[in-house]
Symmetry: C2
Subunit: 428 residues, 2 copies
């Protein structure tokens, strides 16, 4: 039996605001950060997980990680049953639950610990996470899911039926995935603070690199957006998809008016047009901006909001985030909800290590849940990968399936040392 004997928390921050990489209409100067947790077991095995934040407040998440120690230390962690029980014990802690429930700092911290546990277990199985989940039975996968508050849209039997329907094709899809990779799109060209010529150059480079979709940040100033989108459209031609992302900048009426002005440039989707909490707002916007698709999810707090976005027909694209919700367990629930409603899941990535994590989730979706890459694409941002022991491998506009054991979540020891806040060399 493997038992967790220690949990270590570290505040890691990269001073990204110095270069304005990652700038958008809501986040002008992020310092990409990670509230980082390492679980160690009595057999020497280790699992790493983290919450991505953008700077200030990362220490609050570290404090939330510490509050979870009582659920972690001494816990057996040998396989799927233990993973389900760990998730349940933290999410259902009746006192901690008051701080959400299932949202914000406390829930994100739970997600990091859950993800660290999956990293540990899949490493012990000597399989990359996406392959480890592919070895689980439909019953074992369904047992990871907390169906509380979901049963009016998805119950255990319906989830089982989805997973069983995908079971026969797992092997073939795995082989295709390993051979061909998973489609990606890039946001590296479109940060809000980039000058026009940089947008044009990076957009052309993205196409040359094999991407068939790029994304631009919008929502700062309408005239700027019209000009920038025009530059990008001219750079990539008519056949490349250009998604736009407003990072929650607008009210409902504003979103509709703004997207009307951008419509001539044929945007593929509008991402986060308004508050991630505004289910009915997204539905109202979607009704007005079609055929432009509506996408959201990176800030959606939990499966209950996802359920409603789908029930309300509010979105065309369901974006998931690896460190916003309660970790792999809740993301399995969200993948199942997407499959149930026939809405494609396109993960949000970038930040610190989100590309590394979400590739596994998208590949789980392909192999074991939806069984398809149709209309699906993983975000890619060429940023901070050098700090990870098992960085993403994106070539020809596609994520290559990870081969190293685990969740690709481990940051290099030297990077932790250098960017530890506030005493690492980068901050002294």
């Amino acid at each position: 039996m493997t038992t967790i004997v220690s949990m270590t928390m570290t505040d890691i921050r990269f001073p990204t605001s110095r270069e304005l990489d990652g700038s958008d209409a809501m986040n002008p100067d992020p310092d990409y950060s990670a509230a980082y947790a390492v679980l160690e077991a009595d057999d020497g095995s280790r699992g790493d997980g983290f919450v991505f934040t953008i700077g200030r407040g990362n220490e609050v998440v570290v404090s939330a990680l510490a509050a979870l120690e009582r659920h972690v230390l001494g816990r057996p962690l040998d396989g799927p049953d233990d993973l389900a029980e760990l998730s349940r014990s933290m999410v259902h802690d009746s006192q901690l639950r008051w701080l959400g429930p299932e949202k914000g700092v406390m829930h994100m911290a739970i997600g990091a610990v859950v993800n660290a546990a999956w990293d540990l277990v899949s490493r012990s199985a000597v399989l990359p996470l996406w392959r480890y989940v592919s070895t689980l039975t439909p019953e074992q996968i369904v047992d990871q899911v907390d169906f509380r508050y979901l049963t009016d849209a998805l119950d255990r039997d319906q989830a089982l039926a989805i997973l069983r329907a995908a079971e026969p094709g797992r092997q073939v899809r795995t082989e295709t995935l390993v051979a061909e990779g998973y489609p990606a799109y890039t946001t590296s060209s479109g940060w809000l603070a980039y000058p026009d010529e940089k947008i044009a150059r990076l957009s052309r480079e993205a196409v040359a690199d094999g991407f068939t979709q790029i994304k631009l940040k919008v929502g700062g100033d309408l005239a700027d957006d019209v000009r920038r989108l025009g530059i990008a459209r001219e750079a990539v031609g008519p056949d490349i998809r250009i998604a736009v992302d407003a990072n929650q900048r607008w009210d409902v009426g504003q979103a509709v008016a703004w997207m009307e002005a951008l419509a001539p440039f044929d945007p593929w989707w509008i991402e986060e047009p308004t508050s991630p909490d505004d289910i009915l707002g997204h539905a109202a916007i979607r009704a007005k901006v079609a055929p432009v698709k509506v996408a959201t999810g990176e800030h959606v707090q939990n499966r209950v909001v996802v359920k409603q976005l789908l029930q309300a027909g509010a979105i065309d694209i369901l974006q998931i985030d690896a460190t916003r919700v309660g970790g792999v367990n809740e993301n399995l629930a969200i993948l199942l909800l997407g499959a149930r409603f026939g809405v494609p899941v396109c993960p949000h990535a970038g930040g610190v290590g989100l590309c590394e994590l979400v590739q596994h989730l998208a590949m789980i979706d392909l192999v074991a849940v939806s069984g398809s890459t149709e209309g699906r694409v993983i975000e890619y941002v060429d940023h901070l990968h050098e700090h990870f022991e098992d960085p993403t491998d994106v070539r020809g506009g596609r994520y290559r399936a990870p081969t190293a054991p685990g969740f690709s979540s481990r940051i290099k020891a030297a990077s932790i040392e250098e960017f530890r806040f506030p005493d690492g060399a980068a901050w002294r």
Copy 2:
């Protein structure tokens, strides 16, 4: 000019789980707690605010309070403009916003600091908070509100119209309020872990004390609930309203079935039948359980969710909480939303100091916003008031209007000393 020169944070916990006061279907053993903030100004004035939690994790909120220091220290705090600016600067901090946005630990901490600032300013004006707000013009009140994400349901002009319509009657309603108080209901009789005879006795006492509404916790076990509700109904007779509160225990279908079984006892409202995030779920439940009313709000994270609950026709009763959202400023937005949709606001209270705080908010609603007590009632729980310098005064089933300057939010120095966690005498 008054300038904030210090902010002190304290982790205060009352060992209430030892008596099972406060027990309900989701919270079997709460230790009622406060993450407590004191602002001090250069002129010696002081304001107190706090987040109510139920134990574990209170230290995480204290850490979130500390993250707000940069927005507080050196800030002028002389009147409504400064209050609006303080609220805005914290809510719109682009890096801290990532931890929500506007939800969970970080948002609750912002609310505590906002509330402390209103305590300070109204004390300096030598007025109880509810009276201080009554001295503000409709424009000054509207300027407290962040209309972002609200304008599809309520914009500044509509809010101004509501406040202006209420302005002529302010004086008369103030006089009536001072003379007669504000209607209350009591939850003290109905905690889930109380034995049957205690429920019967406390229910009879509540009626004798002048309450016309009581509330029972439900959702643990259906047979128990049928028996307990029967006992309470028999104790109070047919004319007293009995609300029931499931504390988020059910899924949609379960809520409907459970309420069918309780219907013979004529429950007045069902409170928190399911997840506070489930707007569409509440709407579905409401359609099925009428004429029983649906109430929620104590765990509703922010004004965006409130807006949708009202847009969707999901609730009959809008409950507000003093320490869940972004403080007085966001609660003014919520009062205005309630008025806009004609849904009565009935504050959630209990815990640590929630009765002390929400009485002011309900009285602001009466004097300056909705202008009515019709269908409105403030929760009362007879619990922990002795630790407050200006405790509530509830007699004859009514809250008496506070007369002491400030927000009634200050905990006695001796109580802070005794219940400070983990080093106070109560915890050693």
